[in-house]
Symmetry: C2
Subunit: 457 residues, 2 copies
């Protein structure tokens, strides 16, 4: 516990959890309610910046350089309580800490996060088999083992797996292998051709990528020695990292009788309120619905957590904001190429029952092509066929792809049609973007619009 911060008896607004969701909920609530007392209760001290974790091996160098600064909370007049919460006492509106101390609340925000999923693989409990927990000591322990290792196997080719593989290979000559069950890495966010481009980047960096492969056993004695695959392949391994998704931390809510599903998360309404009008939930622990279908949505992202936290912070005393459902917007860098996606892939859209039309563009990100820093940007947009409304987009190319996908996400949020996306008004510049005649999104949307026009005539 911080000696500077004695545990308060009560606070108007109590937040459980100090990562992206909890921190944003507390600091935004502070702005709307300067007169209220606000406290954050968190288990870990201090908290790593989650998105930075894959880059601690070389780019950042240590977990100590990847921490959320606590000074912010002090500055905002937010009490910080570093304790484990034992249970919620809803009747008396108080949080009960592990040592029996209670903290009263008027409004409670659950931002308890998620826990890495460990698939039931025999041997997953061996020494040097890790998952990424947002905890300084555990990450440091993993880093120490990683630095000493020669053969590294990463189980799961999602963003965390791919980013760790890329980072480790960029900063060492270790033997790195990624094992992915699905036909491609990053397959939940990208269609096959974009996944293949990411895999090509990994391969040229020297990462071995095994897709459509299932791990059946983690071998060795007390300590891991290898990984056995369903195909019969055996991989040597000094360290295994399992990155196979997360499960929401719903225990506190469930034990307090709130509706919560161990896979979907703590149930919340559109205003992010649980069944108890005094309790809200946001971030990884909260159940989510898809922007596109209203169905449960498994996406867990820091950027989603902060959006939800902004909804909660504004709604504590009146319903002012609505969560429109989750689009799912992601970006990353693999090798020297940025990859980004928003909304549904073509494959996911079809699976959800949409008839789709797509449009693509491949355009240099400078004009004329002789400008320094030029590289091709590839864009694919997915539209619903009947209405022409945009459902998703994918892009790969230079650094600006990270913001380009946010243009796509904004088009999705506004349910723009391919006709409207083709007519986007954008700024272009020789040193910053494609030529105006060739702007990625206009060209891709125009291609889709032309297909729809052709079919109607």
């Amino acid at each position: 516990m911080h000696e500077d911060f004695p545990v308060p008896e009560a606070a108007d607004i109590v937040v459980i959890g100090g990562s992206a969701a909890g921190l944003t909920a507390a600091t935004v609530a502070r702005r709307y309610h300067p007169e209220k007392s606000i406290a954050i209760i968190r288990r870990d001290s201090p908290v790593p910046i989650p998105c930075g974790i894959p880059y601690i091996f070389g780019t950042i160098g240590s977990v100590e350089r990847d921490l959320i600064p606590d000074a912010l909370l002090d500055f905002e007049g937010i009490d910080l309580v570093e304790e484990e919460v034992a249970r919620l006492d809803r009747e008396n509106r108080q949080v009960v800490l592990a040592d029996g101390t209670t903290i009263g609340y008027d409004k409670l925000i659950l931002a308890t996060g998620s826990t890495p999923l460990i698939p039931p693989i025999p041997g997953a409990d061996k020494q040097n088999v890790f998952v990424i927990r947002k905890n300084v000591d555990q990450i440091s322990e993993f880093l120490t083992a990683l630095r000493a290792a020669h053969d590294v196997v990463i189980v799961g080719g999602g963003f965390i797996g791919v980013e760790f593989a890329d980072e480790i290979k960029k900063h060492s000559d270790k033997n790195v292998t990624v094992v992915e069950m699905l036909p491609h890495c990053l397959a939940l966010s990208f269609d096959a051709s974009f996944c293949a481009a990411a895999e090509k980047q990994l391969a040229s960096a020297g990462v071995k990528v095994l897709t459509g492969e299932k791990v059946t056993e983690i071998t060795g004695g007390e300590k891991v020695a290898g990984v056995r695959l369903a195909s019969g392949t055996e991989l040597k391994a000094d360290v295994v990292l399992i990155s196979a998704g997360v499960r929401p931390n719903v225990e506190l809510a469930a034990q307090a009788g709130l509706k919560a599903d161990p896979v979907a998360g703590i149930w919340v309404d559109r205003h992010m309120r649980t069944e108890d009008p005094h309790i809200f939930a946001c971030g990884d622990c909260a159940a989510k619905v898809s922007f596109f279908t209203g169905k449960p949505c498994p996406v867990r992202l820091a950027s989603v957590a902060t959006m939800e936290a902004r909804v909660v912070a504004a709604n504590l005393y009146e319903n002012r904001r609505e969560n429109p459902g989750i689009i799912g917007v992601v970006s990353t860098v693999v090798g020297r190429v940025a990859f980004a996606a928003a909304g549904l892939t073509e494959e996911a859209a079809r699976r959800e029952g949409f008839a789709v039309v797509t449009g693509e563009a491949v355009t240099p990100n400078r004009h004329p092509k002789v400008m320094p820093g030029v590289t091709d940007t590839r864009v694919k947009l997915v539209f619903e066929k009947g209405s022409g409304v945009i459902l998703g987009g994918q892009a790969l190319g230079g650094e600006s792809v990270g913001e380009l996908i946010n243009v796509v996400a904004t088009c999705i949020l506004n349910r723009m049609t391919c006709e409207q996306v083709a007519l986007l008004q954008v700024g272009t510049h020789p040193l910053l973007t494609a030529a105006p005649t060739n702007y990625y999104l206009s060209v891709a949307a125009e291609a889709a619009a032309q297909k729809l026009h052709g079919e109607r005539n």
Copy 2:
């Protein structure tokens, strides 16, 4: 005239002008009408890429490396006629060339562009006083004079003036001075603090910037020797570049009896059709209305030209697309900083009669801050006070600002409120963007939302 392309007797679709608007109109029309014959008539051969022109001095190296490739037209089956048009014969639906030859049309697209404005300054006709015309020979002549010059004076601190100054100073030790009448450079696109940041970049690169200064005379004999300012200052000058805006080329339209204003441009309806149902206009030659007010809009940009060309290309045989009015989205690089703006500045919004509320954010463009390539991004958003609807935005920072402003533009196009912008769903990544807790636009919009909330309570 291209020997490969004999002048056709007629084409279904005839375009006059081969720059951003004409080229886009022709190539998009080709997609919608594969069966139609299409011809472009243009005066110059070949056509420089307009946005690249300020970078020919050093970054590109010569105007020959900054040309729109004609191979595209060939590939698309578009006839190219390199001739001066003398007049339009609307009664017989034909274009009359300078030599008397006629080309018949069913649909005619005027994309005749604009001509640089030369203010009535005594001495503006001296040798080595230049404006930027989109013509290879004239640009080459300017470049030759520029290379030989020591003292360069640029009259007009808009984008062209600032970009030329920055480029010349980056690639030479010439004495470069920008003279701007308004209190700041770039003042039509940015509020004062952003203009000041751009001027600071220019100053640290060694460019002299004189604002609030009017040129009263260009001195010298046959050839320019200096520039005299209203304040009495005299500047030495071997070369003067005048970049003081453009006037639309309306002569052909006006002579043919179409409604056209020498300052505003050729009148068009929302579907970009002139008073003659067979004749359309797009790009710099066409009159524009503001997205925000419906009033005439002086913005002339290649990105606006291509948007308008897409409207024209789809509407030739039926009204399929509407021009929603011009937002005005721009980006540039000054020194090592990218600057971008969309919509109305705070000052312009107030001048137009809006009550406004603004929100700002200053955020590193990486997270954590130790990531390579980190630089602060500054954002200012302008909202209408009553509705909370976004009217404009400005940003400065790293390369991604070029696309960040397109997120802002998409928010504007969809008339999003500050509440909605605060809840944008975006992708974030340590190597590409701000932290999700700190995303530029969410933070700036939240600040505005909080101001509005505070005033209402």
